[in-house]
Structure formats: structure tokens, C-alpha cells
């Protein structure tokens, strides 16, 4: 199976703190790869580096069949076919739900997108993704008026609207009620069925077991374990560091 992404000896430091420490992993194309690990183990920092939010301090990264690179810039993430959601939700608060999605669909500047006459294709896609996450009825509400769970769903809708080949989800299920957990979990399965690559940071082990083809476990910025969910979740080192007795 081909890799959608590979890191080689990736390093990220914050001052004297090594957040990612010689981290080498492969994310396989068309699979759902779970990233788990204790709080502060570097999971979010890892996807921040992959999406240009944080610059890497060492190592190399290979996206698909492209040449390996020494870093990823935020502006090139869209071109690389990568989208993500944030753990700490980042929406345009004063804009409508619909406009938040429309902005994600365009690679022009947000300001230009606001004044654009959206073509039917844009409106159709907005309707499709908002209906998928159950927010179509709220399309004219401002993002700031949504509840926490609804805001998470809007983040997911925005990521879906980019049509990216690889989507990195940072705790998409946190704060969602069970019915919406099922909806989001179906969305992730559909992405996999459509040969998209999904990277999922999640603390709910039932979800990890159900969805993930492979799991990567991080601890203190390093790779603690990787493999199939069954093997990894019974690994004594993983139980000790992360799951607890």
C-alpha cells in the first residue's frame, strides 16, 4: 500500500522543550490512522507541523509521491491536498455558517470570497456538506451563535468542503452527543471508502477501535507504538502511559 505521508526523524522544539523528537511514521493512503497518546505527548503539534501552523526544526516529510521536503508552509497546504480541523475551534465568528464553508472552498483570499457571486456548484456543495453534518437549517446563523458541538460540526463541514485528499481531524468527536458521533463516524468511513486518507486524533478508545485501520501512539514526542488497534491497545507500555488500568 502506498503512503500518503511519511515523516523522517521529524523534530519540533518550543524553546528548550522538544515537543516532537525524531518522529518517523508512515500514514497509508486510503486508511484511517489514529493518533493517540497522553495529553502533551505532541499529537496536535504533529499535525500543526504537517499543516504549516508550526515550522519543523529538523527531519524531512514526504507527501504522496512528491519529493521529500524540509518543511511545509501554511499557504501550500491547500495545494498539497491537505485539510484539517482544530481542537480549539477556529471559525470566523462574525460570519454566517454558510460563509464559513464558502471560504474553505476557495483558495482566494477570504475578503475576495466574501464579495464573489457564488456559482451554483458552490451553493450545491455548501448544501451538501451542511446537510451532512445537520447544520443546513442553521446556515444563516452566525458562527458565534452555535453551541460548542455545532461549532465542531461546522469545522468538519469546512474540512469536507475543501475536497482534500487527506484530512487531519483533531478530536472531532469531543463534545458531540451520541447521534452526532455516529454521523461523524459515518463521514470518516465514507472518506475512507472514497480512498481519502484520514488522520484522527481521538481519546475515545471505542471510536478508535471501530474506525482505525492503524494506530500510532505518541509519548513525550516520540513514537511509543504503532500497528493494528488490537495489538496496540493491549501493549503494556501503551496501557501504562495512556490508558491506565
Amino acid at each position: 500500500m502506498t503512503n500518503a505521508l511519511e515523516t523522517k526523524q521529524l523534530v519540533k522544539k518550543f524553546g528548550g522543550v522538544v515537543a516532537i523528537d525524531r518522529f518517523s511514521v508512515q500514514i497509508r493512503k486510503g486508511e484511517i490512522t489514529g493518533i493517540i497518546g497522553p495529553n502533551g505527548s505532541g499529537k496536535t503539534t504533529f499535525i500543526n507541523v504537517l499543516t504549516g501552523i508550526s515550522a519543523m526544526d529538523g527531519g524531512r516529510v514526504v507527501i504522496g509521491d512528491q519529493q521529500e521536503k524540509g518543511g511545509i508552509k501554511a499557504w501550500e497546504v491547500f495545494e498539497l491536498g491537505i485539510a484539517r480541523t482544530f481542537q480549539n475551534i477556529r471559525l470566523f465568528e462574525q460570519m454566517s455558517v454558510q460563509d464559513n464553508v464558502l471560504i474553505a472552498m476557495t483558495k482566494r483570499s477570504p475578503l475576495a470570497a466574501l464579495f464573489e457571486r457564488h456559482r451554483d456548484i458552490h451553493e450545491t456543495l455548501v448544501k451538501e456538506v451542511l446537510t451532512r453534518v445537520g447544520l443546513y437549517d442553521k446556515r444563516r446563523a452566525l458562527a458565534k451563535e452555535l453551541s460548542y458541538g455545532q461549532r465542531k460540526l461546522l469545522e468538519i463541514a469546512r474540512a469536507l468542503a475543501t475536497s482534500a485528499d487527506m484530512i487531519l481531524f483533531d478530536e472531532p468527536f469531543a463534545g458531540l452527543f451520541p447521534e452526532m458521533v455516529r454521523v461523524v463516524s459515518d463521514i470518516l468511513k465514507e472518506l475512507r471508502a472514497g480512498e481519502k486518507t484520514v488522520v484522527l486524533i481521538e481519546h475515545d478508545m471505542a471510536i478508535i477501535r471501530e474506525l482505525c485501520d492503524r494506530i500510532i501512539v505518541m509519548d513525550a514526542g516520540q513514537l511509543l507504538a504503532e500497528g493494528m488497534p488490537k495489538q496496540v491497545l493491549t501493549n503494556p507500555a501503551v496501557i501504562e502511559a495512556y490508558l491506565g488500568v
Partner: protein
């Protein structure tokens, strides 16, 4: 002996931009209780906590403290002994962990007491001990969540309002947070009202629960009664 009702929303309505977030809701929190608020996203659970803490526009009804109506204004509410840990770990990211805890203890009006409280809460969250002088914005999401809860405990509150305390925490820490909730409740007799999606864990520690849907209370009772009835399933699957 009758337990005293500490905090109550009586027939309260809250509107945001004309939309009813709460629609004539009555909920109570008695001395020594852990009360669970459950329901779908957007049901009004967080709004209940905000209304009690003076952070939601109440358009009808009243808030009662020790059965007397009062107008909740956040800083006064803290001085009455009510602490609120909001959803989404809203720490002061430019301040260090210690400074965040000091801000949480501001209402103590006593530096020595605040210092002693910092030592006490750090015993509950040892992961923060080594990060005391680190800007809280550079903590991981889970560590920020722990800091938000720790900050809420700085005034040794009589009432603790927790909005999704387990959000973003590793399984090992989630277990510790629920155990901690019980410990605070048992040891300090702190009454706790908590919003949480982790229903099973929540009902295992709660003394009572309310189920909300579309801004209304659709059921309330003891955990066993709620688990036996279909109400939770019906609400979460949209059958109500």
C-alpha cells in the same frame, strides 16, 4: 434532615438573537449533590451554567441563591462561593500556569491563602507542577483543561459548575477527573453541576440528572431512573 437548595434557576428563559436557548427552565442544585445536565448539542445545557453565573441574557424567571432571588453578576457570583469552569478550556494563554491559578484565587483577597490553595490544587493535578512558570498557551489541550479545572478550585467553592470537564483528556486522566469530582464533593461537600457527554461515567457519579432538549427540561430524576427510562435514548436519537 432536609438538604438546603443552594442554587436554582426558576422558570428561566434565555434568548440569543431571538432564539430560545432556554425556555421556562427550572433546575435546582442542593447541598452536597452532583447534578448531571445531559442532552443533544444545542439543547441548552451550557446556557444553564452560564445563566447561573451571570453570562447569559435572562429574559424571564429568576436565579436563586439559598432560595433568595439575586441578579447574577460574574465577580459577585464568585464571591458567593460559586465557581464556573467553562467549556473549551479558556485559560489566559499569555499568563503562566501559576498566574492563571492566582487569577482564579483573586477573590480570596489573601496572598498566603492563594499560595496555599495553589499547592493544594497542584496535588490534584500533578502534571501542572512542572509547568508552573510556562505560558499556559503553550500547554497541550488536555493540560489546559486541567488548568481550567484547577483554576475553578482556587476559591474552594461551595458550588462548582463544570462544562464538559473530560473534553480532550486522555482516558487515564478522564478516570481521574471523575474520581476527583467525587472526591471534591465528598471531602469538601462541594455541590457540583456538570455538563458532560460521557453519560455513563457521569451517571455513575451523579446524584441526580436533568435531560434537556431544545431548551426545555424533558426529564429529571435519579441516575438509575433515567437509565431505566427511554428518555436518554429518545432524546439522543431525536425521537422526542
Amino acid at each position: 434532615m432536609k438538604t438546603e437548595t443552594l442554587l436554582q434557576l426558576k422558570d428561566v428563559s434565555v434568548q440569543y438573537s431571538g432564539v430560545h436557548a432556554l425556555d421556562h427552565v427550572t433546575v435546582t442544585l442542593d447541598e452536597g449533590e452532583i447534578v448531571a445536565l445531559m442532552g443533544p448539542n444545542g439543547a441548552g445545557k451550557s446556557t444553564i451554567l452560564k445563566a447561573m453565573f451571570g453570562l447569559a441574557p435572562i429574559t424571564h424567571g429568576e436565579v436563586l441563591w439559598h432560595e433568595r432571588a439575586f441578579t447574577p453578576i460574574s465577580h459577585e457570583v464568585v464571591e458567593r462561593g460559586i465557581a464556573f469552569v467553562p467549556q473549551g478550556r479558556r485559560v489566559f494563554s499569555g499568563l503562566t500556569v501559576r498566574e492563571n491559578l492566582e487569577v482564579g484565587g483573586y477573590a480570596n483577597r489573601d496572598k498566603k491563602l492563594t499560595s496555599a490553595r495553589i499547592d493544594e490544587v497542584l496535588e490534584l493535578f500533578p502534571a501542572l507542577k512542572t509547568k508552573l512558570f510556562v505560558p499556559s498557551g503553550s500547554l497541550s489541550g488536555g493540560q489546559q483543561q486541567q488548568l481550567a479545572i484547577a483554576r475553578g478550585l482556587m476559591t474552594d467553592p461551595k458550588v462548582l459548575l463544570l462544562d464538559e470537564p473530560s473534553l480532550g483528556l486522555a482516558p487515564k486522566i478522564v478516570k481521574e477527573v471523575f474520581a476527583l469530582m467525587q472526591e471534591i464533593n465528598a471531602r469538601r461537600n462541594t455541590a457540583i453541576m456538570v455538563v458532560e457527554h460521557n453519560i455513563k461515567s457521569l451517571l455513575s457519579v451523579a446524584t441526580r440528572g436533568y435531560v434537556l432538549d431544545k431548551g426545555r427540561v424533558v426529564a429529571h430524576g435519579k441516575p438509575k431512573e433515567l437509565m431505566k427510562s427511554n428518555v436518554l435514548e429518545n432524546v439522543f436519537t431525536g425521537k422526542i
